[in-house]
């Protein structure tokens, strides 16, 4: 096997090229007036930090935090019992139900968001067919429901996979040693599933925090998240007046990366080789 | 024995800071059954892997049939390996596992078929051709692994603890069969084990290793009867080891008594270790004995009893067929040629 080791080396270079280098550039862009599409001499500057005095940006940061935490909380409250319930089923129904949980992810994300847009319109096809009417476009509730629907499977998968693999004997041992159902759950089952819970929380929170199409569409542009700001700084304002929009975007991306790094450290502690990630 | 087939010259191998093989010198004769014996971590598997070509020596040379083979790939060596836990290919059936090497060499189908049939007969697995590996018992897998290696007609077969996963009865049967096979095929076997009994039963030559060094090389009889160090004496069979003094040639003192022995050539009053095998003590009546003690414990081991006798605060282990009770007073005697003497500097 020793002979096969060299095959891992190019991967390290590849990852260095696509992760390490852009991160360094991002830091540079955030703290200088370097132009991404016109590389030349640059000066270090903190002028990008003025965006943190703009209410629009602060609002987006607050919204990101609020929506991602709420989404994660709801997904966890729903997801843990569901994962627990599913893992307790017989093998056949367990397999089928889990497969059904993955299935929706094979449907285009944008179309799913558009479908929610349709559902939340008062005069929708749902109204026409079933007589149920929602009016949630542009509301926080609407955005929240959309996010829960989008990210709930990512909470359930890792928790389920840990619970499924758990040795039943451990639970029997706990009961044998005198633990009640509740104690068994609190002292054995839950602690042992904590790796899956950490993965689930992170795999829900990070995408929710950074989503930009969903809040833009369902929130009708009234609810902006950090992702919307980044999108506009990198993709829309570039051709506009502000010459430093990419630098500002980079600074905001760095804020995001801080969350990402913290999450990553947590996930790596709970699950070194990423066995709960797929 | 025939000529020297393999010569390892000053071979050293390190893993990081750990020296696994330390200036290792060994030659292996043609048609020899040689066993590398030692505790786990002594470097015996590494030595085998260097011979197989899976590891490269950091220093020193490995010669095979007069040529240095340090840089040859495993597939370029006339050496095959029977791996620990067999390493049979799970995606292939018995026939395809055994035929693997021949197929790589692009030998025609008919020849492959004949040779596989032939070798299956040798390992007593005729009729198992299409069986999946996962359906075989441990013993059968072992046989497939041997067949898969032998079918390539190597000059040397390396076996890495091949019987480690089998139960006692099966292991004893396989020991006998392996030895028979080796004689019949006239191939050199290099065998690695930590089981001293296995080594004694099967080998022409035993190499005792510890911490990457060779401690003693010899026939099973030599090594059992004339261990050259405390370590070897302890590792091969059980031993009573006493500190003693050589009074003159053929006379040694230990435990406060003098005994006749067959060793000579030590300096007068040289510090020595005296080794006596448990089965070499005779239990006699206390009145006639130089050594007298009290039975402290005993255990029935099937063929004989193992009894511990306390003599002046020291514990002696003795194997005897005569039954004694705990608390009995017994006398012990030992023949001069059963007293083995090692110079003290040989501490391992």
């Amino acid at each position: 096997m020793r002979r096969l080791r060299p095959y891992s080396l190019p991967y390290l270079l590849w990852m260095g090229l696509f992760i390490l280098i852009p991160t360094m550039i991002l830091v540079l862009l955030a703290f200088s007036n370097l132009e991404l599409y016109n590389l030349s001499l640059f000066q270090l500057t903190l002028q990008q930090f003025r965006i943190f005095s703009q209410p629009q940006i602060l609002n987006a940061l607050w919204n990101s935090l609020k929506f991602s935490l709420l989404t994660t909380l709801i997904c966890f409250i729903l997801g843990y019992p569901i994962a627990y319930y599913l893992s307790s089923l017989k093998e056949k129904s367990r397999k089928i139900l889990m497969a059904m949980m993955i299935v929706p992810l094979w449907s285009n994300m944008l179309l799913r968001i558009i479908a929610w847009e349709k559902i939340f319109t008062p005069t929708s096809i749902i109204n026409d067919l079933l007589g149920i009417s929602f009016d949630l476009l542009g509301t926080e509730t609407g955005v929240l429901i959309g996010m829960v629907a989008m990210y709930l499977p990512f909470m359930i998968f890792p928790i389920f996979s840990v619970l499924e693999k758990m040795d039943v004997k451990l639970i029997e041992a706990a009961k044998d040693l005198g633990a009640s159902d509740l104690q068994t759950f609190a002292r054995v089952t839950f602690p042992l599933s904590s790796g899956g819970v950490v993965s689930g929380i992170i795999m829900t929170m990070l995408p929710a925090m950074t989503s930009f199409v969903l809040p833009a569409r369902i929130g009708l542009g009234r609810i902006n998240l950090i992702g919307n700001i980044i999108e506009s700084k990198f993709m829309k304002e570039v051709l506009g007046s502000s010459g430093t929009s990419i630098n500002e975007g980079s600074l905001i991306s760095l804020v995001l990366m801080v969350f990402s790094v913290i999450s990553f450290v947590m996930i790596t502690r709970a699950d070194k080789e990423g066995e709960t990630l797929i | 024995m025939g000529k020297k087939l393999i010569i390892m010259n000053h071979v050293t191998k390190r893993f990081g800071d750990l020296v696994v093989l330390d200036d290792f010198n060994l030659y292996i004769n043609e048609n020899e059954f040689i066993t590398l014996l030692g505790p786990s971590g002594c470097g015996k598997t590494t030595c085998l892997r260097i011979l197989g070509g899976f590891e490269t020596a950091d220093e020193g040379t490995v010669e095979f049939d007069g040529k240095i083979i340090n840089d040859l790939e495993p597939n370029q060596r006339e050496i095959n390996t029977c791996f620990q836990k067999y390493a049979l290919f799970p995606h292939l059936n018995v026939f395809d596992n055994i035929a693997f090497g021949l197929k790589i060499k692009k030998i025609d189908k008919e020849t492959i078929h004949t040779r596989v049939t032939e070798i299956l007969k040798l390992v007593k697995l005729s009729g198992f051709e299409t069986r999946a590996i996962s359906t075989l018992s441990g013993g059968q897998q072992q046989r497939v692994a041997i067949a898969r290696a032998l079918i390539n007609r190597p000059k040397v077969l390396l076996l890495d603890e091949p019987l480690g996963a089998l139960d006692l009865k099966l292991r004893q049967e396989m020991q006998y069969e392996l030895k028979e096979m080796q004689k019949e095929l006239g191939i050199t076997f290099v065998y690695v084990t930590h089981d001293q009994e296995e080594a004694l039963t099967m080998s022409d030559t035993i190499v005792i290793m510890n911490q990457g060094k060779i401690l003693q090389i010899g026939t099973p009889e030599d090594i059992y009867n004339e261990p050259n160090s405390r370590f070897v004496a302890n590792f091969i069979g059980e031993s009573n080891i006493f500190e003693g003094t050589m009074i003159s040639d053929y006379l040694v003192e230990f435990c406060g008594k003098t005994f006749e022995c067959v060793d000579k050539g030590f300096e007068a009053n040289a510090e020595v270790d005296v080794i006596i095998r448990p089965e070499d003590f005779d239990v006699i009546s206390p009145s006639k004995a130089k050594i007298v003690g009290i039975v402290d414990s005993l255990a029935f081991l099937g063929v004989h009893y193992e009894i511990n006798v306390i003599v002046e605060g020291r514990e002696y282990t003795i194997h005897t067929t005569k039954i004694r009770k705990i608390g009995d007073k017994v006398g012990l005697s030992v023949e001069p040629n059963n007293i083995h003497i090692i110079a003290r500097k040989n501490h391992a």
């Binding site: 891992s8 992760i19 550039i25 729903l78 992810l105 285009n108 829960v148 990630l277 | -």
Partner: protein, 269 residues
């Protein structure tokens, strides 16, 4: 005993109800998409009767031909490349000593955990540094990049189960370093490779965010085309729903087929 079985039942019922609620939330957009794909209306605000014309449009009228071909082309190529590279990398990583292997897996998981928007921006920055023109090749490269970690993750557990002497046995019996990989390692990890490939394919076909940041103005896949259309406030043809339902069904079909085949194989051996 009464209370005990009652408690169990209560827990089970709660679990069941929550599960039903979850499936309802997760599946409702899919149902809406399905209904819109067979609804005889371009706007989709009301049910105007059953039709298959959106499906017909896809095949006969070349509706959305360019974005669809782009999506499938990138998905196929990136799956092939990512599967091949990911498998080789995984084999290399698995051969490392434990500490280094864990470190490499940590590196491998960075793109998996990283939000897509960060990955998208990072790739965009690299491409602009290398002065690549954004388009097919940058999208392909981006998709290969985000797929490889998933291939590695799905191949790894299989590799770990392999006896490490297996490859050496192949070398011992005459294989060269390269043929040993093909003859012994790959056949024994094929299920992992297959599931890695499937994952790469499904992720590529549905990707929006990373493609959005790496495709430039000209090159569009289905997702970015949809986004561009709705961002301009225009409506798009319901054929998009039909396309989605087709991809969806085909994916399910492939997965079911593979699982059935695997189950049958397991029954035989």
């Amino acid at each position: 005993m009464m209370t005990r079985s009652f408690k169990r039942k209560a827990i089970k019922t709660t679990g069941l109800l929550l599960t039903i609620l979850a499936y309802l939330i997760i599946f409702s957009p899919i149902l809406v998409i399905f209904v819109l794909s067979i609804n005889n209306s371009t706007k989709g605000y009301s049910w105007d009767g059953f039709t298959l014309r959106w499906y017909r449009d896809l095949f006969l009228k070349d509706v959305m031909k360019e974005p669809i071909m782009n999506t499938l082309g990138v998905a196929l190529m990136s799956t092939l490349l990512a599967t091949a590279l990911g498998t080789i990398f995984a084999i290399g990583i698995n051969a490392l000593e434990k500490k280094k292997r864990v470190q490499m897996m940590v590196v491998n998981n960075i793109p998996v955990v990283n939000p897509d928007i960060v990955t998208g921006i990072s790739l965009m920055i690299v491409f602009s540094l290398l002065s690549f023109t954004l388009g097919y090749y940058t999208v392909l490269l981006a998709h290969v990049f985000f797929s490889i970690p998933y291939v590695v993750l799905s191949v790894m557990p299989r590799l770990k189960k392999l006896d490490s002497n297996l490859y050496e046995a192949a070398l011992d019996l005459g294989c060269s370093r390269f043929s040993g990989i093909f003859r012994v390692i790959i056949p024994n990890i094929s299920t992992g490779i297959l599931s890695g490939a499937l994952m790469a394919f499904t992720m590529s076909i549905d990707d929006f965010i990373i493609t959005y940041f790496t495709s430039g103005a000209e090159y569009m896949n289905v997702s970015t085309w949809l986004y561009a259309t709705i961002s301009r406030g225009r409506s798009f043809t319901p054929a998009a729903y039909a396309y989605n339902i087709i991809i969806f069904t085909v994916t399910i079909g492939i997965i079911v087929f593979i699982n059935l085949k695997r189950d049958r194989k397991e029954k035989i051996t």
